[in-house]
């Protein structure tokens, strides 16, 4: 069991409370996933020619100020670190892939959580309520966000095993379920040059999407590919700079509820996590059909 939450704001008025609402949703889902929690927020796009990099000092503390200075030296410039618990966010005046290459060479001890123009991923082992407080999630604004609470079944409980998983620039995946063919698929994807940080099954689904998108598939095509190439149970929510998409396995083993008002669109594992949103009582709510891709955002599945 795990919990998934996603919230997309249709009205700018709601953006300031995005973190507060997503935190309430995660709290409702904490009994579905007490082992770890994580979020991906889409907010404050970096200026053209710059990128946002979210890093974690998974194995101890990092001197974020020193790393910020190194980044500023190595590239045209970099923001001071914005530190959240074990994570730090940098805006670097360079192409995201260049920065990723530099980090892998110069700071292999750091874990890259996310990279792109607007994505920020924060995730950590521990109870969702503790995570929300420690990372001050309630005060993060943004246009849309995904969250996850994990009950580990397949692999260890660490920061790296937590969701969301980055699946490329500005893309991430949260997963409720389990995959059976992840070992063989991981091997195939490694031969295609996709890198993995863990032995986790969900990370393989993220890697699969990364690979399909790299090969030219649209996000919708990549998600539809999951129906034939992934063996197992899943409700996926995939975040992008524009919105998010949802897919359930054809047997619908794992729950999902969606709801929409004039103000927002939400996905959650259970309705109780939607009931805490403003105006939920009057929302149109429904259960997404199995094997069908749902999406919000203008260019998400273009």
């Amino acid at each position: 069991m795990c919990g998934i939450a996603g919230l997309y704001t249709k009205s700018p008025a709601l953006q300031a409370q995005l973190g507060e609402h997503l935190s309430s949703m995660l709290e409702q889902l904490s009994f579905r996933g007490p082992d770890s929690a994580g979020v991906a927020f889409y907010r404050e796009p970096a200026p053209a020619g710059s990128c946002k990099i979210s890093l974690c000092a998974a194995h101890g503390e990092a001197d974020w100020d020193a790393i910020g200075a190194e980044l500023a030296d190595a590239f045209e410039g970099a923001s001071p670190p914005r530190v959240r618990a074990t994570h730090a966010l940098f805006v670097v005046d360079a192409d995201a892939e260049e920065v990723q290459g530099w980090l892998a060479a110069e700071h292999p001890e750091l874990r890259l959580m996310s990279a792109g123009s607007s994505i920020e991923i924060y995730k950590e082992a521990g109870r969702p309520g503790d995570f929300v407080r420690r990372f001050d999630i309630e005060r993060i604004d943004g246009s849309h966000a995904l969250g996850h609470t994990r009950m580990a079944t397949e692999s260890r409980v660490t920061t790296e095993h937590s969701h969301p998983f980055s699946t490329g620039l500005d893309l991430c995946l949260v997963h409720n379920g389990s995959l059976s063919n992840h070992n063989r698929l991981r091997g195939k994807l490694r031969r295609e040059g996709i890198q993995f940080q863990t032995d986790n099954d969900s990370e393989v689904a993220a890697g699969y999407l990364t690979w399909r998108l790299r090969e030219g598939a649209s996000l919708e095509q990549a998600l539809e590919g999951c129906l034939s190439d992934l063996d197992g149970f899943y409700t996926f929510a995939v975040g992008s700079a524009d919105g998010f998409a949802v897919l359930r396995d054809p047997i619908a083993c794992k729950p999902a509820v969606m709801a929409e008002t004039d103000e927002w669109v939400a996905i959650a594992s259970e309705y109780r996590a939607i009931a805490v949103l403003p105006g939920a009582q009057d929302a149109v709510s429904w259960e997404p059909e199995p094997g069908r891709v749902y999406s919000w955002g203008t260019t998400l599945v273009a």
């Binding site: 729950p255 259970e270 309705y271 109780r272 939607i274 009931a275 805490v276 709510s285 059909e289």
Partner: protein, 235 residues
């Protein structure tokens, strides 16, 4: 919350924003006389009004979570909203009415009573049905009536893939399209006794704009299972 010895005429309100589901259920279990209870602010909570064993009338104002009215006996439970997984699962008798839609496994293993869903019911509706009757005003998802043994499922809309897979003796009536029949499930002749049953079920479900003649009947071909009535005592 009022005391458990009030009379049926007193309408009790239980607000789940301030009372727990356990307090609500305990009240429903402890009441010696039939009660009328209105439940406010369910907010998707699980296990609301489960295990009732008295002819209470329960009205729930809003959407509920999993297993609402599970194991219901004698009571009439009405949900003014949608239901999560397993509404009226293992119901024994009474009536459960859902004014919105129901998630998966509605009326799973239910032995008696009537479940009415005015919206849609999703996958595995009436799975392993053991004698209850289920009327869905909208459509049902895939694998509905899987291994159903006894009772009836009436679907005024469409049915998803693999309807009635591995069916035993339940009767299935579908008015719209059937995406596909499961193993050993076949269409069967609609006889007078079936039309009569349909009319009665539609009436009890308070569905007046749908005629019994508009349905087709499906049931077991009886080629997949090998229970013989002469061996009944051995099973």
């Amino acid at each position: 919350m009022a005391a458990a010895d009030a009379t049926r005429e007193d309408l009790l309100s239980v607000d789940l924003a301030s009372e727990s589901v356990r307090q609500l259920n305990q009240l429903l279990h402890d009441a010696r006389e039939p009660r009328r209870v209105r439940v406010l602010h369910p907010a998707g909570r699980h296990s609301i009004a489960v295990g009732i064993d008295a002819p209470h009338e329960v009205e729930i104002d809003g959407h509920v979570g999993y297993y609402c009215a599970g194991m219901n006996k004698l009571a009439s439970v009405r949900v003014h909203g949608n239901c999560g997984v397993g509404v009226a699962e293992n119901m024994m008798s009474g009536t459960v009415t859902v004014e919105g839609s129901a998630s998966q496994s509605a009326a799973a293993s239910a032995r008696g009573g009537l479940l009415v869903v005015h919206g849609d019911a999703s996958a595995r509706c009436a799975i392993s049905l053991k004698g209850a009757e289920v009327v869905v005003r909208g459509s049902v998802g895939h694998m509905s009536a899987f291994m159903a043994q006894k009772g009836a499922l009436v679907v005024c809309g469409d049915a998803g893939e693999a309807l009635g897979d591995s069916l035993y003796e339940a009767r299935l009536y579908v008015r719209g399209e059937v995406a596909g029949l499961g193993a050993d499930c076949i269409e069967k002749e609609m006889r007078d006794e079936h039309l009569e049953q349909l009319r009665e079920l539609l009436e009890r479900a308070e569905i007046e704009d749908v005629g019994a003649e508009e349905f087709r009947r499906y049931g077991s071909a009886r080629e997949l299972y090998h229970f013989h009535v002469e061996h009944l005592g051995s099973y």
